[in-house]
């Protein structure tokens, strides 16, 4: 009669038992460094390419939390990460100024590009400056997709609008603030035939899934990009341990030194060359 009861209790017991003993996990190194970074470094595969070297050298696992730059900086501000690798210069400088990090270092850069639909309804292909293209897009009211998520890309996009002396608002029907990551925004633009600002690395890694999009400003490589305003520098910062207890400053400092080292910089410069015919990131430490 207590059939179902026995089965139910058994089931729960199995679940509970299973939980206490996770199988197959590698003997977790006691050391774990928490890196808050942007989706572009993780999703492009760069981190998976370079991090194993660090983990081996210092026998310390790196836990990557890939979010928008805005959220990554917020995580650092709360002391919930040990080291940041982000790309929004103004916010990074403020982070240092507020004392959340002692110093910021250049790590690498790539560039942003303006993408648009094949038929280029605003006729902006070949514009020298993104700001000019933005003006035309606004004037022709062509569809534009914005990340709208306070990421580094979103920050850059807004600064270009500012240069173009236009303030996008939600009343503008052609301006779509998606509140999404780079990947989703690219896919949406591809489907909707919208213009959008993207980092070249993510675009290259997803190019085969974006048949309806072409580069309208920025050319085929960073050397081809005439608008120096579109440069996209990445910085690294070790979170200040004086502000938050538990931050692993020593290991974070080692990480900073490691990523700035000649060897790692060379690896960064080599990443993606064979696959995309050009590097996705250019080291500049």
């Amino acid at each position: 009669m207590k059939h179902w009861l026995i089965v139910a209790t058994g089931l729960l017991a199995v679940i509970a038992g299973a939980c206490s003993a996770p199988p197959g996990n590698p003997p977790a190194a006691n050391c774990a460094l928490r890196l808050a970074t942007t989706t572009s470094t993780a999703d492009s595969g760069l981190l998976a390419f370079i991090l194993p070297d660090f983990e081996k050298k210092f026998s310390c696992k790196v836990d990557v939390i890939a979010v928008g730059t805005g959220q990554a900086i917020e995580i650092g501000t709360k002391g919930d990460a040990d080291v940041l690798l982000v790309h929004a210069r103004a916010q990074e400088d403020k982070f240092v100024a507020d004392g959340h990090a002692k110093e910021r270092f250049d790590v690498m850069y790539n560039d942003f590009i303006l993408l648009g639909p094949q038929d280029d309804p605003a006729k902006v292909k070949g514009s020298a400056r993104a700001a000019d293209a933005f003006k035309t897009i606004a004037a022709t009211q062509s569809a534009f997709a914005s990340r709208g998520d306070k990421s580094g890309t979103n920050t850059k996009e807004l600064s270009i609008w500012a240069t173009a002396t236009i303030t996008p608002t939600k009343e503008m029907a052609w301006y779509n603030s998606l509140g999404q990551g780079m990947g989703e925004t690219l896919l949406t633009s591809n489907e909707k035939g919208a213009y959008t600002l993207a980092d070249r690395g993510t675009y290259l890694s997803m190019k085969d899934k974006l048949p309806n999009l072409i580069v309208v400003v920025g050319g085929t490589s960073i050397q081809d990009n005439k608008d120096k305003d579109l440069l996209n520098p990445y910085g690294v910062m070790a979170v200040n341990p004086d502000k938050h207890l538990g931050v692993k400053f020593e290991m974070a400092t080692k990480f900073v030194q490691w990523i700035l080292s000649k060897e790692t910089q060379e690896r960064i410069g080599g990443f993606g060359k064979d696959k995309y015919g050009q590097p996705l990131f250019y080291p500049n430490a």
Binding site: W4, A8, A16, P23, D80, G246
Partner: protein, 231 residues
């Protein structure tokens, strides 16, 4: 249409190859959801039963709170847990943020009101005269409550199933408090988000199929229990 079909085929191949990374993600999902469900049931069923057996007037406020909790957006729960567990939050010393423990905590908060609230409803649905009859047959207080719970078991199982479905497919809260760290806090739902973001739809579909399969298997198993308990 072609893409969906191709994705589906890829997905099946991927599943049957039992890719170690995939196994790890599935295992972590089951672990996190399993522990969260176990604890929610352990607390939620007695609380729900106690409330269901209480007179209406005394129950009012707590019942209202429970029903509100059932409708709470998981992301809000995630944000709350995040702020609590942050190193600058009140529970920062636990160092749970971006670990499975944080995800379990968030899922418990989501699942508990579901288990307790639906258990309460199930217990209230039992014949109002049953307690009297059971006591007339010589039950002590514990035996009385146990008998009523047993009588409400179909509803109680439904409560647990609903909670399972609610948390195994939840993404917002676990993404926020877990951080989607590969090999550590990456579960089925956050992996699906990641692979959708990077355009790896085949992988996303494969994970989706597995999630669906797990949910179906769990529901089928519990419904089987319910059927057996029903006669």
């Amino acid at each position: 249409m072609d893409e969906i079909f191709r994705g589906f085929l890829h997905a099946l191949r991927f599943i049957f190859s039992a890719d170690p990374a995939l196994v790890e993600i599935v295992w972590l999902s089951m672990r996190v959801t399993g522990v969260a469900l176990f604890i929610s049931t352990l607390i939620g069923v007695p609380v729900g039963a106690a409330l269901g057996l209480t007179r209406r007037r005394a129950r009012g406020l707590i019942a209202a709170l429970l029903y509100t909790g059932m409708g709470l957006p998981p992301v809000v729960v995630g944000l709350f847990v995040y702020l609590m567990l942050s190193r600058s939050g009140p529970l920062g010393m636990l160092d749970w943020l971006f670990t499975p423990s944080a995800m379990i905590a968030a899922q418990i908060i989501i699942a508990f009101p579901l288990v307790a609230g639906l258990t309460m409803t199930a217990v209230q649905g039992v014949d109002a005269n049953l307690p009297l009859q059971v006591r007339a047959l010589g039950a002590n207080r514990a035996q009385e409550i146990w008998t009523i719970l047993r009588e409400a078991r179909i509803g109680v199982i439904a409560a647990i199933v609903a909670a399972f479905g609610g948390i195994v497919s939840e993404v917002g809260a676990v993404m926020l408090v877990g951080g989607n760290i590969e090999g550590k806090t990456r579960v089925l739902t956050t992996a699906i988000v990641l692979n959708t973001r990077t355009g790896d739809f085949d992988l996303a579909i494969a994970l989706g199929i597995i999630l669906l399969g797990l949910a179906f298997a769990a529901n089928a198993a519990l419904l089987q229990l319910q059927k057996r308990g029903g006669d």
